[in-house]
Structure formats: C-alpha cells, structure tokens
Symmetry: C2
Subunit: 442 residues, 2 copies
C-alpha cells in the first residue's frame, strides 16, 4: 500500500495541552496508526520550556524525539514532513505556519483564532506550494466535522449549520438549567472545575464560538467569512428566570453558532452569528449537555445531520490532530498533496445583524397599572411587530408584574427599536431580557 516514503516524520511546535495530547496519541496508538495508514513518528518538538517538555516526552516513551527551543530547526529540517502548530495565538503561529507551508511541508493546526482571521491567506500559500493545511481540531475539538463538510457531505448545497461549539458556555447553561443556579454561580463552578478560564470573556461573550462559525461558514458556503463578520452576543444576561420560562414553554436555552445560506441558491448571502437561543426540547441540540459540543448541519440532499462529541481536552483534540496527520501522511505517501484545499470561490455578503429575522422571547418588568398590555402592544405594532404574540403575565409583589412574550419572526433592528420604546414607557420598570427563539422550519 505504501507508495512513497516508509516513515512519515512529524514536528510539533508548542507542546502545551493540545500539543501534548497529540504527542500522547501518536505514541500510544503508533501501532494501529502504522497498520491502518503508514508509520508516523514524532521526530522533533520545538518548545521553550525545554526541561518540562523533555520530561513529558520521556514519560510517554518518546525518548528519541529531538527537542529544540528554536522552531526554525523543524522548518529547516528536510526530514520533517508534517509540522503541527499548537502554540496558539495569531502572531508567531502565523509566522510558523507560513514558513512551514513555504518550505513545502504539510501543516496541521488547531488554531481557530488564526484561521478565523488569516485562514484565506494561509490556504492560498498551501495552494501555491501544492501542500496541505488541515485544521479539523480548530472546530469542535475531537468531532470530525471539518472533513465531513469538506468531503463526506461535499455533494450538498448546505442550507444551515447550527453548533454548540463552545464547551464552557454549554457547561454553564446546562448547570443553570439543571440546578436552577444563576449565571454567576454556574460560571464560578465552571472556573473551579477548569471548564472556564480565569478571564472567561472569549467564551462567555461568544468570541470563541464566532471563530468556529467563521471557519464553518467559509467551508460550507464557499465564501470567506472572517471573525469580524460574525455578530456576537454573550450569555451573561441569561438569568434563572429565563431558564424557568424556557422550560415552561418547552424550550432549552443553548449558546449557538448559527450560519445560514439565504436567498438565491446561485448567489444570495450568508447569515452568521453567535448568541443564546431557545430551541425546542426535542431538538437534537437541546439534549447536548455539560461541556459536550455538537454541530447540526443541514444540506439539500442529506437533510438534517448532527455530529456530537468532546469539543476540547488534550486527547480528544489530539485525536482530531492525529486524524489530520494521518490524512496528510497518506497524501505524502501517495504523492497527492493538495488533494483538497480552500474552496472559497464565491464572495457572498454577510447579512448585517440588524436585518436578521428571528422570533424573540422578551421578559419585561412593569408597574401593574390599567392599560399596560395595550401600551406594550402599541409599542410593538409601531415597530412592525405583530401584537398577536404569546403573552403571559405574572404578578410580582404588590404593584409589579412580569410580562413574558414570544413574538413572530421580526427584524432585529425592529425588535431593538420596540424594546427601546417599551423601556421608555412610564409603565415599564425594565426590559429584563430578550432571547432569540429558533424552531426547526421543516
């Protein structure tokens, strides 16, 4: 079966959690990998923490793996076929990947931050040098959804992708839903258990998920979407009251990355965003608990499909990277690098968030006076929002009430204008929250 080289040599740049997981999988499963594909050896590692790294490599049996604190050594070594970039960040990593591709090496990375900004540039270098740049681990950790979109489902016109692609926020929302905790308590627990970082901004504000949406949209809709094009809204405003109402109305609240192709099938535009969503409890995404990830993909031939698994962690992410290494190794052995690359041959506009239409759940605290419902309805209709929404009213204390309503599909800008008008009403204490509601449309 082996056409070319008898052993493929890998160099890893950056042996942190993900790099270490990759090294462990390569070491532990070397025999099955060799038997299924071709012999693959971790020949060299570049990392500045040399002493700790040497001990780690020795501990997993990789005593022959060369260690250097200079990543250029790996690029300059003609024996190394595949470079794995696991340092993260967008500066040095960009330099490393660019240099490796220019040296004609195959590159595997988990770096979503970099790809969501400069993926197009790096894939163009790979194309020019007729080599491979693979990034399965950049989206949803161990779940092989990138290859599914690029190959297994490549016969489809993709309609939409909806993903729980951030484990931290899914853990927090699962806790809130199952224990009745408020956001702050659930976040504190996530931090205590290591699911959330000390500075959780990137996760809880949706930036991490937006990077994955950018990468998935680019692949699925054949048009480059970058991080800055994806509208983001975090989960910090979700309260235990929202969780209770969601439950009562038959919904789960999930942080979703959403990407849709809209309009004309030979053109049209892309709708790409990240925000919390109420989805029906019997939707497959609603049952994805704890820190698990899942990506729900709809195509015109395959219909609805979902990919579920671990979105983070040393070994699951290592699994995805090693899957890419195996793919890159097969391409080297069979002399067919650049078998697939960037497919962004279109240049579709991304719909501004103001224009995106959704159903909305809205929770408003009002002074419970005569005419309050009429005043709300009037503010809604003045902003093109049908007043025959689902409305529920609950007394709070002596003189206040909480109004909860679910609208029909409305433009985001209209919804925001209506909420501004409502918050200006004399009868309104506060607009407590709004959350978009997604139903499966077919």
């Amino acid at each position: 079966m082996v056409v070319g080289k008898s052993e493929i040599k890998v160099g890893i740049v950056g042996l942190g959690t993900v790099g270490g997981g990759t090294a462990t999988v390569l070491a532990q499963n070397a025999d099955v990998i060799a038997a299924r594909a071709t012999a693959i050896r971790l020949a060299a590692v570049a990392d500045i923490a040399t002493e700790k790294t040497r001990a780690f490599l020795d501990n997993i049996g990789l005593t022959d793996t060369v260690l250097t604190d200079n990543w250029h050594d790996l690029i300059d070594n003609p024996d190394i076929d595949i470079i794995v970039e696991t340092i993260g960040g967008t500066n040095l990593a960009r330099e490393v990947i660019s240099a490796a591709l220019k040296a004609g090496k195959s590159v595997v990375t988990a770096n979503k931050d970099l790809l969501a900004l400069h993926g197009g540039e790096l894939l163009a270098i790979a194309e020019e040098k007729q080599t491979d740049l693979f990034f399965e681990a950049a989206v949803a950790g161990g779940i092989p959804v990138v290859q599914a979109v690029k190959e297994g489902l490549a016969g489809n016109r993709f309609k939409s992708i909806m993903g729980i692609v951030n484990g931290t926020t899914n853990f927090i929302l699962t806790k809130m839903s199952e224990t009745g905790e408020d956001f702050a308590d659930a976040l504190a627990e996530a931090q205590r258990l290591g699911y959330a970082e000390a500075d959780p901004t990137s996760d809880i504000e949706g930036y991490d998920a937006a990077r994955k949406v950018a990468i998935l949209s680019s692949m699925a809709f054949n048009s480059r979407v970058t991080f800055d094009m994806v509208a983001c809204e975090g989960i910090t405003h979700i309260s235990k009251w929202d969780m209770r109402y969601a439950d009562e109305f038959g919904y789960a609240i999930k942080m979703l990355g959403i990407a849709r192709h809209c309009g004309d099938q030979d053109g049209g535009y892309i709708d790409a965003r990240v925000h919390p969503v109420m989805i029906p409890k019997n939707h497959p995404l609603a049952t994805v608990r704890d820190s698990y990830n899942a990506v729900y993909v709809e195509g015109n031939a395959v219909e609805k499909t979902m990919f579920y698994g671990r979105g983070a962690g040393a070994l699951p992410t290592g699994s995805a990277i090693v899957g890419d290494i195996i793919q890159a190794a097969r391409n080297i052995v069979h002399n067919c690098k650049a078998r697939w690359g960037c497919t962004c041959y279109l240049n579709l506009p991304v719909l501004p968030i103001d224009e995106v239409e959704s159903k909305y759940y809205v929770r408003i605290c009002v002074y419970d006076t005569v005419g309050v419902l009429a005043a709300l309805a009037s503010a809604l209709t003045a902003n093109n929002i049908s007043a025959d929404a689902v409305i529920q009213k609950r007394k709070i204390g002596e003189d206040k009430a909480e109004i909860v309503l679910i609208t029909h599909k409305v433009r985001h800008a209209d919804m925001m204008a209506a909420l501004k008008a409502i918050s200006d009403l004399d009868c309104t204490c506060e607009v407590s929250d709004y959350i978009r509601v997604e139903e499966d449309e077919n």
Copy 2:
C-alpha cells in the same frame, strides 16, 4: 487544482430509489460539486426498466446520459471512471462490482448485504487493482460515519460502537414509546407510511442492522466480521408493558447494533450483536427519534462521539454516494487511487453470544403464592445471578402478580438457564420478556 482529467464520468448500475437519488444529487448540485472538487458527469446508466428510467433521467435534466439495459456496456466503456452499484442483492451486484474493479474502475456502492458477506473479497480485488471501493451509504445512510472511522478518527483505538442503524425499528419503538401502542399497531403504521416493507423480517429481526454492525466492526477493530458472526435478536417481543417499565426505571428501549473490542489491546476479541436494549434516558442515543439513525463511537483518544442523521431515503443516501464519488474523483484527478482500503490486518475471534455479559431486565408473571420471591431468587442464584437485583412486584387480578427485576451483569447463557429454571417453577405462569440493559460505563 485539477492535476489529471478535466471531467470525471460516472456510470450507475440500477436506477431504483438509491440510484435515482444519486442521479438527482449529481444533477442538482453539479455546479457546487465541480467548483469544490472537479467536474463530475453522470455519463451512463444501466437499468432494465429502460422506458421509465429514460423519463426519470430526462426529468432531472440528464438528457445526455446514455441509457442501456446491459451493465457490461458501462464496464467496457473506457471513458467511464467510476461505477456506482445500486442494484442491491448479493449475486448480480457482486458480479458487477467485481468486474468493475477488475477493469480498474473506482466503485461506489450502498450494498450492505453484499459487503457484510463478501466485503473482504471485493476489497482484496480493489487492493490488487490499486483502485477504490467506497461504501459510505452502506452504513447509516447519509451519515458520513464510514469516513470518520477510516480517516478522521483513525488515530484512535476504538473501544465500542453502538448504533441505531435501522430506521424502521427506531420508528416502531419511538411510536410504541410515545403513544403507548403495542408492537403490531406500530408496525402496521410503519408499513402504512412506507417505513417498513410488506415483509419486514429483515428489519424487525435485526438482520439489516447486523450487516451494518459487521461492516463497522471490521473497520473499527481491523478484523473481518461477517454477517453470520453477528448475533441477532428482534423487537417483536417488546410489549407496551416493557415500554412502561422502561420509562418508570428511567430508560428508553432502542434497537442497537453493538460492537465492542474486549480484552488485551494488542489482541483480544470482538463482541458484535444486535438486539433491543434499555439505555438511560439521558444517553445521547435515547433522544434519537422516529426513523433517524445515529452511531455512537468511543475511542481511546476522542472519548465519546456520535453521528446522527437520516439512515435511508433517496436523497440522504444519494448524498453519501455522491460524497464517495467526489472522494473517488479526487483520487483519480490526483492520481492516488487506493489511498485507503481494507485494514483488516488482524484476525480476532468473535465472542459467542452465550459468553456476552449484560445486565438484564426480566418480566415474569407468577401465581402470587407464599414463597414466590424466594423461589425466583433461588433459581437466579443457582445460575450465578446475584439475587440482590432490583425487584418490583405488581398485583394482576385476583391471584397473579407481575415481577420485574433488573439483574447485575451476567453471562447470557446463565441468564437463559435461569429463565428456563424460572419458567419451570410451579409458581410461574410465564416469563413474559427479557431485555438487556446498557449503562455508560465511565
């Protein structure tokens, strides 16, 4: 990007539901397929129903596609690069695939019956001729799980695969669970809606699922498993009472194909079987409803992952076949056929069903006399089954009671011997049912 040929030509043998779906996807999505990969054209179709087939092809815009009633015409045509076999069955299909591979063509098939019997033989021909035999559509329809196991997750030692891989039985069990119907009524509804065939034997007895288990086990555990090695038990004995008890105990009843690697990691044996199972309601497989399929895969690096979607239907199956066609086309264009093939390099034994250990739910109808529980317990312990099982007793009428118990893990042979002993007791009216119970073990 295109290295070799400028247009890949496909020939389909058998234009029934699946072949027709494939043709439709190729026609409808030709532009995106060409832009993402390479131009692919359905050049010829072989089908005996020539008039109906011509009308179908014309109707989807494939007026240039040559139609013949002689499949040899496609094999003999040197312009045709890829043969799609969608006639089904194990005789003519075997002849067609074998001839196509021997002619050096790439072959794509959805034929699980054939692969579960003669997959090894056909893959050996592909290997010898250094060409491709792809079969994504043979397992779980549109869900790209074959490629995931062969490539994306190939860095893993697989521990287990559990799949809802038969849509008919999942539809029947979902109906029974959600409406309280008995088996016969749910089957009748499935037949009325076209989910079950007039002769539903292959589905409801688990033969169809067993074929998919044979294919998945062979790939995951690198050792050829054929249909005859997979123990099967159908769902005809499941009653609405079992559904009620399952619900009460926190379980869903699902028809699962199960494949496990057991014992020594460098050797060991395979446990492969198909039968109804009670799984906890919060297990991801428990939420897979109606005719949907899902495959739950556990590897030593990726941990738990699940692939969900349509297991049948013209377009979803067509999606999987076209994904394979694209993969085969890329290999032709990049001159790297046989990039991956059969990886059954081991020869592991399959555990006899008698030796398989499971927890069991058992429902027994007894005459409610003094000492009945003691008699049951004694029959259990005499067969190595711990008597501290979960036991529940419910009066039926004047003199009878229904005993429901859930055992610890026991050997199947011991369980069957105990049930025989129990049914021989004077106090037993009948052993009404038994169903294996699976818990997630980590």
